[in-house]
Amino acid sequence: MLLRPNRSDARRIAFALGRVILVVGAAGLLPLAWAIGKREWASAVAFVLMIGIAALIGSVSTLVAPKDPRLRWSHGMTVLALAWLAVPALGALPLYLSGHYGSMVDAFFDAMSGVSTTGLSVIQDLDHLSESVNIWRHALQFLGGQGIVLAALTFFAATGILSLYYGEGRDERIFPSVMSTARFIWLVSGVHAAVGVTVYTLEGVSRLGYSWSRALFHGANVFMAAFDTGGFTPQSTSLMYYHSLTFEVTTAVLMIAGAISFSLHHMWWRKREGSFKNLEVRTILITFGITLTLGLVGLAAQGLYNDVGSLTRRGFFQVLSAHTGTGFATVSSSDLADWQGLAFVGMAMAMALGGMASSTAGGVKSLRVGLTVRAIFDSVRGALLPEKAVVSRTYRQNGQRHLTPQLAQSVMVISLLYVGLYLAGAAVGVAYGYPLQDALFESVSASAAVGLSVGITSPTMPVLMKIIMIGQMWLGRLEFIAAFSLVGFVASWVVGE
């Protein structure tokens, strides 16, 4: 029997949701300041409106604040699923008012793509967009990559927040307290931001001949999209715009940093040994090696590049961009569509597998891939050994751990759900008349929060397909559980007793 949620449940959820929206409103102050500084008045008005609406929602949520605001697990998951719909809805407002989107659905598509750190876009005439709205697009990626709720937690200490933390795709706490863990994540991001933006800006001014303001604009935006594995860029030609090896190398380093779990960052910061013995680290190194080899061999076989230098530079960057779930391109969409055979397989695999758990990357995640392979390997070994033989089912991940049947089952279920999501999206694409290979590429790109495109994602794409891709990005980023909890919450509201 399902228990119908009561008014107190609704008030707790509304209150927590209001807090999250307030934080997003506060984040709008950054592009607002830039808009005022650059005299981009129309954009400034859009941000004032968005901040006003966020403040209003936040204030109303304070009015309905329950006496006991503690969140149970189901509350937390519901808040999370709703927050990841409400935030892009609010964030879409300045995008839509910029006049660069054909409809509110298009603006919502880009906002969802931003917060889910996907990077697919249906914006039109990006090259004439105001700087402040461009910053907002990238800030959405930064917020989403860090974790919208995690950002809110930093400002509003709340009770019962554990479910919110885990629901955003973070598997373990680095410190005993979630708040301390949140602060560490911001510290890591802050240090990378300081170094990354400085390198980009100095390269922009000294070698690329940009003004300080333009160099900072490009540097800050590319940093936010690189470290949070988002993939938006300020110009329509993606990273090809810069024609700079320094930009590419810096971006590659930041993409790797973004796809690494924060617990691994912590191990490295504390100079703890043994990180390379972790199952997750070994898995990602092996899968990156395999996908890179496939990609390079495929490109060589196709003869798309005439020399080793070109093949290695383009191939390495694109496979890295795919595996980390970033989606930056140093080749055009039409070029990417020409990557056939093994090159396509390498790219699709890299996108589908994704980065590490508890990082800013999407996809199935390396830990799940490693555990799935280990579980299958153990099962085969168990079948081959004598009946009385004891099969050790352990793995190393920050210490020795047991691979219990429950863990193996849950890991495989999530992995299968991802595969299902990839295939379902591809089926929709095929139904709309796109070639299977292109439809699969785009579906994996959306579901695994990558953002590379072979050209299907465009403003002229059918509306239903846009909505389905929004759903894919949402489900993929939430890793299903929070979304299922929301469905359960709604169902218990309707049919519960």
């Binding site: 006003g52 609406i53 333009r214 140093t330 080749v331």
Partner: protein
């Protein structure tokens, strides 16, 4: 002289092989077929002039917004189609005006260039190796209206939010005082 040499060679090549007007989309879709061809494209210079020791990099857009800027017409016409263009320093002229961006329609130019596809010299970059540029229309600023009604709405929302928040706080304090 050494800096002028490549330009002279390219110019001779350009004269020897007459430029053909092509569509940029087609060029990008079948790049290998056009590698090394001398082509002619008319479009808008976009973003930033990246002035370096060996020339100037800029993005050349050839799309619907070249003839009909969004801020002038209000008509969306799809995505931008652009390509990187490398200009010799001798060809670049600051008098063209600011490159295109927000509230700025960049200079409209006709470029004669050699199309480089997956150029090994630049480790696989695809771009236009520009030989000559002729200015069609100088850069010009565009205007945009500030939506005052939306500003009023935003400020009203902020005021109401402020009153609600502090009103609630005052009520709480009064309730506490009255026991």
């Amino acid at each position: 002289m050494s800096r002028l040499l490549p330009l002279i060679v390219l110019s001779i090549l350009a004269i020897a092989a007459p430029a053909s007007a092509v569509d940029l989309d087609e060029l990008l879709d079948s790049g290998a077929d056009h590698d090394g061809e001398t082509i002619e494209l008319t479009g808008e210079l976009i973003g930033d002039y990246s002035v370096r020791s060996d020339g100037v990099w800029v993005q050349l857009n050839v799309d619907a917004y070249v003839d009909a800027p969004l801020l002038e017409t209000g008509q969306l016409a799809g995505r931008n189609t652009g390509i990187g263009a490398h200009l010799p320093l001798e060809v670049f002229d600051e008098a063209w005006g600011a490159p295109g961006g927000y509230r700025q329609r960049g200079p409209i130019v006709t470029v004669t260039a050699v199309f480089r596809y997956h150029d090994p010299a630049l480790q696989g970059d695809t771009y236009l190796d520009v030989v000559s540029v002729s200015l069609v229309e100088a850069s010009m600023p565009l205007s945009e209206e500030t939506p005052r009604n939306l500003l009023g709405l935003g400020i009203a929302a902020l005021v109401v939010a402020f009153l609600l928040h502090f009103g609630t706080e005052v009520v709480k304090v009064l309730a506490r005082k009255s026991g």
